[in-house]
């Protein structure tokens, strides 16, 4: 059997074309090649970060500092990013219908409300499935850090994120066992193929085939030269030194490395934002991580000339209340929270959307989670209305009827 056939079994030809924008892949509609998606699990407090143009009591203990853009001010917890707000577009009127973590996270990452009957793919899995080409040897959806890795939902498991729990450890078991020669390994694969084909006859299902596909994907991955992307020790020291030593910073460094090598969607998890109590004791350390890591990442991408082709997204499942509660924390707040986008020609150095001054509601230029996801997909050249069917034959749109907001981009 031809080796190439064996290791790349899934028919990819023609699969990605239907995903592309109906208007075709012109330079304008496909400005971003990749997405770095930083997910702040727990609920970022917007009044202690990037939404400071509200009544003073709403800010709690946060104070306002100027940024390097006139008219854009941020909370004192983000001094580094304050010097790079010319690269960032702040979205202050995000809105979701979910107020609890599991459903909130699910909604933000998949665009859908959780239902007990189906699990939906995350945005990264859609991107992976739509944009993967036959020649790609790295998976196009990678998830760095702890937290929810990156589910493929009703797509076959091969479209799930490749999880990298710890950026300093790289990928475990990616090399064939030393004592095994290549021919011996191929022999084993042939035996395996024969057994699986047999089993498939009487007992085959979507799940068994998903395993077969993932073996194929894993083999391809093993044999790829691009695994070097996961070895941080091979990165140019000058770039490494742009970053701090925290795990989040190292994860951002790896994300930059991966998009440089063409990976389409890299998710970086930074959790712990759920400060229901003692927010001003507990939050500053996390804010510092985000401030350092994101700021280094923007510099890194800028230096490598990747900022134009990379859409950097910072999102969270919902925000936190305008009032500080009796436990000196803030509770969940879905109606008016903040996300950030940068790179890929966003209208940087601006604020899009606002809440009411009392901080209670999203007010102008409200962006629903589904619109947010639609905009990201659109910028990658993918039609937000693209549909795929679940196992039961039910169609689902990528953006769950969200609309791309082109005015976010120049």
């Amino acid at each position: 059997m031809n080796r190439r056939d064996f290791i790349y079994r899934v028919g990819m030809a023609g699969m990605s074309l239907p995903c592309l924008n109906a208007t075709g892949a012109s330079a304008q509609t496909s400005k971003a090649k990749s997405v770095i998606y930083i997910f702040l699990q727990g609920g970022l407090s917007q009044y202690d970060s990037f939404n400071v143009e509200v009544d003073k009591p709403v800010l709690g203990k946060s104070t306002i500092i100027k940024s390097n853009v006139d008219g854009v001010r941020v909370s004192n917890y983000y001094p580094k990013l304050a010097r790079q707000m010319d690269q960032v577009l702040v979205l202050n009127a995000m809105k979701t219908n979910q107020g609890a973590h599991p459903a909130g996270i699910y909604k933000m990452l998949t665009g859908y409300n959780p239902r007990s009957t189906v699990t939906h793919p995350e945005l990264g899995a859609w991107v992976n499935k739509c944009l993967t080409r036959e020649r790609d040897s790295l998976p196009n959806f990678v998830s760095i850090g702890n937290g929810r890795a990156g589910s493929a939902g009703f797509f076959p498991g091969q479209w799930a994120a490749l999880p990298v729990k710890d950026p300093d450890k790289g990928i475990d078991f990616v090399k064939r066992n030393e004592s095994l020669g290549e021919n011996a390994f191929k022999k084993r694969l042939n035996i395996l193929d024969s057994l699986n084909k047999d089993f498939e006859k009487d007992f085959g299902s979507k799940d068994t085939r998903s395993y077969v596909d993932t073996y194929a994907g894993s083999l391809k991955f093993m044999n790829s030269n691009d695994i070097d992307a996961f070895e941080l020790k091979n990165e140019n020291p000058h770039i490494v030194n742009l970053y701090g030593k925290s795990e989040f910073s190292r994860s951002c460094l790896m994300a930059g490395r991966l998009v440089e090598r063409g990976v389409r969607f890299v998710k970086v998890n930074l959790g712990g934002w759920d400060y229901h109590d003692g927010i001003y004791d507990k939050m500053p350390a996390n804010a510092n991580r985000l401030d350092s890591g994101l700021s280094s990442l923007l510099t890194h991408l800028g230096q490598k000339g990747l900022l134009d082709s990379t859409l950097v997204v910072v999102s969270t499942e919902f925000g936190r209340k305008p009032d500080v509660n009796p436990n000196r924390g803030r509770d969940h707040h879905p109606d008016g929270f903040t996300c950030l986008i940068a790179g890929a020609g966003v209208k940087a150095g601006q604020i899009y959307g606002s809440t009411t001054k009392d901080g209670k509601h999203a007010d102008e230029d409200v962006l629903d989670v589904t619109d947010f996801n639609a905009s990201i997909a659109w910028r990658l050249g993918i039609d937000p209305g693209y549909e795929e069917n679940s196992a039961s034959g039910r169609p689902f749109e990528l953006a769950n009827k969200g609309k791309a907001h082109k005015e976010l981009f120049s």
């Binding site: 609890a100 498991g157 799930a160 699986n196 073996y215």
Partner: protein, 626 residues
């Protein structure tokens, strides 16, 4: 009664009290506690299940599935009853046994073995999401031990559930581990939603913040249900009076003196004092942002159930009196939480038994008897209502003894039928036997153990295991505040004092054996230590049904490049004494796949044993139940 007599005739050995395995066979019949024999009705139950299934097949003019052979049965029952494949000895011994009732005997044996305790601990621990959570359930070991003890003693499920819902008192007191359930999610409204989903299989969490979008539950209904447990809370620090009189002075001194010492003081005192307080007041107040016209923010709600019979609540304060009090008042504790526990776990509760049998059926058969385990409605009875009703009545007749229920299922012809792979061309009725699905993570990992040793269940615990927290709790009962101060300033410091307690605790547990020979359940609470099971998709216990059965690249890379079997493993020892190459091949097939090789597989015999073993272990047949 005539029916039963006939049963006795036909199933001799099943209907009389079957003697438990005396330990000579591989399953170590002593589960550590004395349990009642499985009652005579099991065969009758199995027959009743089969009768209903056969009737439905006939009605739909659908062919019944063929019965499975002994090899298939042996592998399947081991996987479903005790969570691992049989060892080669266990398999060969069963196949060569010529007693006519050997299947019933094997079922009985497995249900009363240590393997059962291990496997079902995993299941309940996943459902109850046993996991350490920072400053809430800081250490979940005692919670684990409570579950293990309940399984070892075959505590009826309704009692388990009742204890979990109504647990109070100290978290780390040995024997009081049921408090871990509340501590795992102490936000009262989320906890209520979780309890309802866990024990009644319903998703009502939407109603916490607004009227449920498509079910009947309103936000007021939610708050009325919450009223039963109102003011139940987790407190990890000493009570205010105790704090003020006993601990506060030294705490202030330490805080100003040394951060580490202050932390050790705080954390060690917490081990002694962390507890669930509050028995439930029966009153709840609507939230401050209640948005509907049928009520006001802070309006008082009296406890009420969602459906079924309202249990008795002994109010000691009239609602009018409470209305005159400030809005942080919810009334005195009146044991209303117990009333809710009574209602939730009552045999008359229309959801409790239904949700339970639905879960267990799903675990054993892989199909939805009624619906999704966490998303049932009051009305639905699934595709075969008569079967659902029958299983409900069996569960009630068994008095919620899980072993009896499982025994009824396992002894049925329905269970012992050829497995079906679901697809778009599946027949209309699929409740007539199990369906193909991947084995759970722990089952796969524990099955590797069956290849390594004759006695995979040897180190499954038979009694309470101490950990640093329960051990220190016991010590702390005699500690004065001066002892706590000494403990904080003379110890090895913040990072290491817990490790020291843990070491001392392990010293009390006696020999637990080498951890290469542990089943996953022996690793207990710290799932992070069992990376192999995590790779296979072990539940991270964030969601109630959080098991992941999907493939991913890291899992497959491990299976291809990382899985090793030690040289002294059982399977290698057997291979070295096999008569010829063909016999080696047969041995490998039996040990790993639980069957003889087919004629069509003979071309594969030309390969080396190691190559064949690698392929069989990586095959779909190994990881999917058949």
């Amino acid at each position: 009664m005539k029916m039963r007599f006939l049963m006795t005739m036909m199933f001799a050995g099943l209907c009389v009290s079957v003697p438990r395995a005396q330990g000579a066979e591989g399953h170590a019949g002593d589960s550590g506690k004395k349990v009642a024999s499985i009652p005579v009705d099991v065969s009758a139950f199995a027959q009743e299940i089969d009768r209903l299934v056969a009737g439905e097949l006939k009605r739909l003019e659908q062919e019944p599935r063929p019965e499975i052979d002994d090899y298939t049965f042996c592998r399947r029952i081991h996987l479903d009853a005790i969570g691992r494949i049989p060892t080669i000895d266990e398999l060969e011994s069963f196949v060569s046994d010529d007693r006519s009732d050997k299947r019933a005997r094997l079922i009985e044996q497995l249900l009363n073995s240590k393997g059962y305790n291990s496997h079902w601990y995993n299941y309940w621990a996943d459902l109850l999401r046993v996991k350490d959570v920072g400053d809430k359930l800081h250490h979940s070991g005692n919670f684990s031990e409570w579950i293990k003890d309940s399984v070892r003693g075959n505590k009826p499920y309704n009692e388990m559930a009742h204890e979990l819902i109504n647990a109070s008192g100290e978290l780390y007191k040995p024997g009081n581990g049921a408090t871990g359930f509340y501590a795992r999610e102490p936000m009262p409204l989320d906890h209520l939603a979780n309890s309802v989903k866990t024990f009644m299989g319903m998703s009502i969490e939407c109603a916490q913040c607004h009227d449920h979008p498509y079910e009947d539950w309103t936000q007021q209904d939610f708050y009325k249900l919450a009223a039963f447990a109102s003011k139940t809370h987790l407190r990890v620090d000493p009570l205010p009076k105790d704090e003020k009189e006993t601990y506060a002075k030294d705490r202030r001194i330490l805080k100003h003196r040394d951060f580490d010492e202050w932390i050790v003081y705080r954390e060690s005192i917490r081990v002694k004092h962390a507890a669930i307080y509050g028995t439930g007041t029966g009153f709840m107040r609507l939230p401050h942002d209640y948005q509907y016209t049928d009520g006001e923010p802070h309006q008082i709600m009296e406890a009420d159930v969602l459906f079924g019979n309202m249990p008795k609540v002994n109010y000691q304060m009239a609602k009018e009196k409470l209305e005159s009090l400030p809005k942080h008042h919810f009334g005195p504790g009146i044991n209303a939480r117990r009333s809710m526990a009574d209602w939730m776990t009552s045999a008359d509760n229309p959801m409790f038994t239904k949700a339970t049998v639905n879960r267990l059926w799903y675990k054993i058969m892989g199909t939805e008897l009624v619906g999704q385990p966490g998303g049932l409605t009051l009305e639905e009875m699934g595709k075969h209502p008569a079967l659902t009703r029958k299983l409900i009545s069996i569960m009630k007749a068994s008095k919620y003894d899980a072993k009896v229920f499982l025994s009824a299922l396992f002894n049925s012809r329905t269970y012992q039928s050829k497995i079906l792979a679901l697809s778009t061309t599946s027949p209309a009725y699929v409740l007539d036997g199990p369906v193909v699905r991947r084995l759970a993570a722990e089952v796969i990992v524990d099955s590797f153990l069956s290849l390594k040793t004759e006695t995979p269940d040897k180190y499954v615990a038979t009694e309470f295991h101490w950990d640093g927290f329960t051990h220190f709790y016991e010590k702390s009962q005699d500690m004065t505040v001066k002892d706590f101060v000494d403990y904080s300033v003379k110890g090895p410091g913040r990072g290491r004092f817990q490790a020291r307690e843990e070491r001392e605790a392990q010293g009390r547990n006696g020999d637990m054996g080498p951890n290469e020979l542990w089943r996953v359940s022996t690793f207990g609470r710290n799932y992070r230590r069992h990376w192999m099971a995590m790779l296979m998709g072990k539940s991270n216990r964030e969601l109630i049904d959080g098991v992941n059965l999907e493939p991913d690249i890291p899992q497959i890379l491990f299976m291809m490049n990382g899985l090793g079997i030690p040289e002294d493993a059982l399977i290698y020892r057997k291979l070295s004494s096999a008569a010829n190459h063909r016999k080696k091949m047969e041995l490998i097939w039996k040990a790993i796949l639980g069957r003889l090789p087919r004629d069509s597989e003979e071309p594969l015999f030309k390969n080396t044993p190691d190559d064949v073993m690698w392929a069989l272990l990586n095959s779909n047949e190994f990881r999917f139940g058949r």
